[in-house]
């Protein structure tokens, strides 16, 4: 499944990307294969989402979240 399908409070591990060239800014911010993440909340209108990775909070749109394959844990 992809990151945008997780619900607030759920955790997952990044397993890969839905395309060959993921946005490099996401990688640089530390969202890499094996990274543990938690969905904190959605913005008031449901998008973007607030996730916690590597001890900090990152917000990204559902569109970008849809590129991230995750394994719920």
């Amino acid at each position: 499944m992809t990151l945008d399908q997780l619900k607030p409070g759920e955790r997952g591990v990044v397993t890969g990307w839905t395309r060959d060239e993921p946005p490099s800014r996401l990688l640089e911010m530390g969202l890499l294969q094996g990274t543990l993440l938690e969905i904190i909340r959605l913005a008031p209108l449901g998008d973007p989402i607030d996730i916690r990775i590597r001890g900090y909070h990152l917000s990204l749109r559902k569109h970008e979240a849809g590129l991230v394959e995750v394994q719920p844990v």
Binding site: L45, D50, H57, S59
Partner: protein, 716 residues
């Protein structure tokens, strides 16, 4: 700095340089500004890089020692693979590619102790450059409160560079850091992260090539340069020292890597984190209970809450607007009072004639008319600074991204657009942090539709003259209602124009929205105050230079050629003088174009002079309608407007003309400063010209519709 012939080679400049140059780098939201302010105190200045007019903040460090240390602030960046303009500047300053800026002797990399792992990504890139580097481990106080402890000694051993623990907001550790800035330059550690062999081979090959092309570069700089050229596919190819042949080799290397299935862009980042992650685990100790929620997370559960979040944002907006419009009023009155006093003084002491006219109608009316807005601009910057420093601005972007995207903008457009309610110039400058060039352009192009404070005097004059003060609609007066309608018209137009421009005209890659939600921090009032004083200085400099010059030119155009009276010693009626002046002639010249909007040549003159700045229209009308010396005396000016007639007895200023004029001011980009800043930010004349043209065309059409439509309905 260029490496090609004719430029200054860095080796030469090092010898000639007296002070040590330190660059202060780091991620956004790591308290870099506070560190900078603590290090320099008041010995700092904001200037521009020559040619590019990008802001450059430098200061002297009060070391108390023998060595002079100059420190330059580098815009906050997550990576040295630049995406936004701010990031490109950061990269250029560090590698010495920024014109007018020597390569730094030492880099201070500010990292957030509470977010060490991600911060070390940039650090690893900085270390690759081979410039002596020290780490300022900031925010140790707030991170320890959250149970995150960083072992500075261990971090120093792991990285191979000195680490100075800091709590910059309270000043803890600043003295030790100052000592570090003066001490012997630390040695540069060898690169510690390992990249895949295939990538390494290609990078070495390209670095080899660079040693022929640009032998001045140090070995580590060549390596970093080659790696960036190879792995960074999105950034512009701006390095001046790369030959076309070099890029051909880069393309060939990429081809070879792709053929072997090496995703070079990803692999570099992964390799860095493979070094960073275990390192961070060794030096960071986390002591807190399971299910611990940080203070920031608890604040966010309210401020980004589904219902409370938007409500809070709205409340913040209301407070800011209220402050900008009503708290500023007494200060504005003082400035106006001071200007009238100066005018009276000039009137009493200068003999009637050209000099007096120049001083009163030119200099004082022009500069004074603009100076009046200083309190509003300062208050706005105070609030924006507060919102920025607390970390709330990122939440605004988070909350507003979805609605803004519906109209073709992004969450990051919100702050620039709100700033534009005060003035489009800082609003447009605030777009620099946007990483999508397309979003940035669209935001810039619509920012001047937001009702800026310079439109207020115009609105106030016309509304008070033509909208009855007595009428009420519910509890809202007609005048207030009209003013609100004008604000809504401007904002609505910005939204429509954004949607149109994005779909039809401004192409480019769709934006990504990847943004850190930094921890909340208590703002340091001193930092906010310093930023305000910087703004005040910039604004006053402008008022004293550009606006002063324009005011004098406008006055000259209105005062010459001088109409000689037939009867000797008779005073020439000032409107006759104006009609025959250069400006009057220009007004007559474009009157045919304005006739369909209901404007006569006098309004045409006022519009022409308002091109310098919108509020000038008030003082221009004052001069035109010759209301004695106090041209900003609104009450008598509006009576004059209402009484003015054409030769056939019909009124020049019918309510319909007033509505048409208001419409024109809502839409037209009558502001030289805005156009100048767009030229500066886009580095081309194309966008300011386009901006002025499309906004003028819209204004003309809208005024035409209002006026002609009104005539058809018999309202004339």
């Amino acid at each position: 700095m260029r490496w090609t012939a004719g430029g200054t080679a860095p080796t030469l400049s090092v010898a000639a340089k007296a002070a040590r140059l330190v660059a202060l780098a780091g991620n956004p939201n790591v308290g870099k500004t506070t560190v900078f302010n603590q290090l320099t105190g008041l010995r700092q200045k904001v200037g521009n890089y020559p040619g590019v007019t990008v802001e450059r903040k430098v200061g002297q460090v009060a070391t108390g020692g023998s060595r002079a240390v100059q420190i330059v602030d580098v815009p906050g960046t997550y990576s040295l693979n630049p995406r936004s303009l701010d990031e490109e500047i950061a990269y250029r300053v560090l590698v010495g590619e920024m014109q007018g800026q020597e390569r730094p002797d030492l880099v201070v990399c500010v990292v957030d102790a509470g977010n060490l792992e991600r911060n070390l990504y940039l650090t690893s890139q900085v270390l690759d450059l081979g410039i002596p580097t020290i780490i300022a481990l900031n925010m140790t106080d707030s991170s320890e409160r959250e149970g995150v402890f960083v072992d500075a000694g261990a971090l120093s051993r792991e990285l191979g560079v000195p680490v100075y623990p800091l709590a910059a907001s309270s000043g803890k550790g600043i003295e030790a850091l100052k000592q570090g800035l003066c001490a012997e330059l630390p040695s540069v550690p060898p690169r510690r992260w390992k990249m895949p062999a295939a990538l390494q081979k290609e990078v070495d090959h390209l670095a080899q090539r660079l040693s022929v092309d640009v032998p001045q570069l140090s070995a580590s700089m060549r390596f970093a340069d080659a790696l960036r050229a190879l792995a960074n596919t999105t950034a512009p190819r701006f390095e001046t020292h790369h030959s076309a042949e070099f890029w051909q080799e880069v393309d060939a290397a990429r081809e070879r890597l792709r053929a072997q299935g090496t995703l070079y862009e990803q692999e570099e980042i992964i390799a860095r984190y493979q070094w960073i992650t275990p390192l961070a685990e060794r030096v960071v100790q986390i002591r807190r209970k399971d299910g611990h929620r940080s203070v920031s997370e608890r604040i966010d559960s309210v401020l980004t809450h589904r219902y409370l979040g938007p409500a809070f944002f709205l409340a913040v907006l209301l407070v800011v607007f209220q402050a900008v419009f009503s708290w500023a009023a007494p200060f504005m009155n003082w400035i106006e009072g001071g200007m009238s006093w100066l005018s009276a003084l000039a009137a009493n002491h200068l003999p009637p004639g050209l000099v007096r006219g120049l001083v009163i109608d030119g200099v004082l009316a022009g500069v004074g008319g603009v100076l009046v807005f200083l309190p509003q601009i300062l208050l706005l910057f105070f609030f924006l600074g507060l919102l920025e420093d607390t970390g709330y601005m990122a939440r605004v972007a988070f909350i507003m991204d979805r609605p803004m995207r519906k109209v073709g903008l992004s969450g990051r457009s919100v702050v620039p657009l709100i700033s534009s309610y005060a003035c489009a110039v800082p609003g447009i400058m605030a777009t620099r942090t946007m990483d999508s060039q397309r979003d940035r352009l669209v935001t810039m192009m619509v920012a001047p539709f937001m009702t800026c404070s310079a439109r207020l005097p115009v609105y106030a004059l016309v509304i008070s003259a033509f909208v009855p003060a007595a009428g009420h609609f519910g509890f809202v007066s007609y005048q207030a209602l009209t003013l609100m309608t004008l604000y809504l018209l401007g904002t609505g137009m910005a939204v429509l124009a954004a949607a149109f421009l994005r779909n039809r005209l401004i192409k480019g890659s769709s934006s990504t929205f990847v943004m850190e939600l930094p921890s909340y921090h208590r703002p340091r009032l001193r930092d906010v105050a310093w930023r305000m004083s910087e703004r005040a200085k910039i604004f006053l400099t402008r008022a004293g230079t550009i606006i002063l010059a324009v005011s004098i030119v406008l006055w000259f155009l209105a005062a010459f050629p001088q109409t000689k009276s037939d009867a000797p010693n008779a005073q020439v009626d000032s409107s006759t003088q104006l009609a025959n002046s250069y400006m009057g002639r220009a007004g007559h010249l474009w009157e045919p174009m304005l006739k369909p909007l209901g404007f006569d040549w006098k309004i045409g003159v006022a519009l022409l002079s308002s091109f310098a700045a919108r509020e000038v229209v008030v003082s221009a009308l004052g001069t035109i309608y010759s209301v004695g010396d106090s041209s900003d005396d609104v009450s008598s000016l509006k009576e004059r407007l209402k009484a003015d007639t054409y030769p056939d007895g019909t009124r020049v200023w019918s309510p319909l003309v007033a509505a048409s004029l208001l419409m024109f001011f809502v839409l037209a980009c009558q502001c030289m400063s805005t156009l100048a800043v767009v030229k500066r930010e886009t580095n081309s004349w194309r966008w300011p010209i386009f901006m002025w043209t499309y906004m003028f065309a819209l204004a003309w059409i809208a005024s035409f519709v209002v006026y002609q439509g009104g005539l058809l309905l018999g309202w004339g």
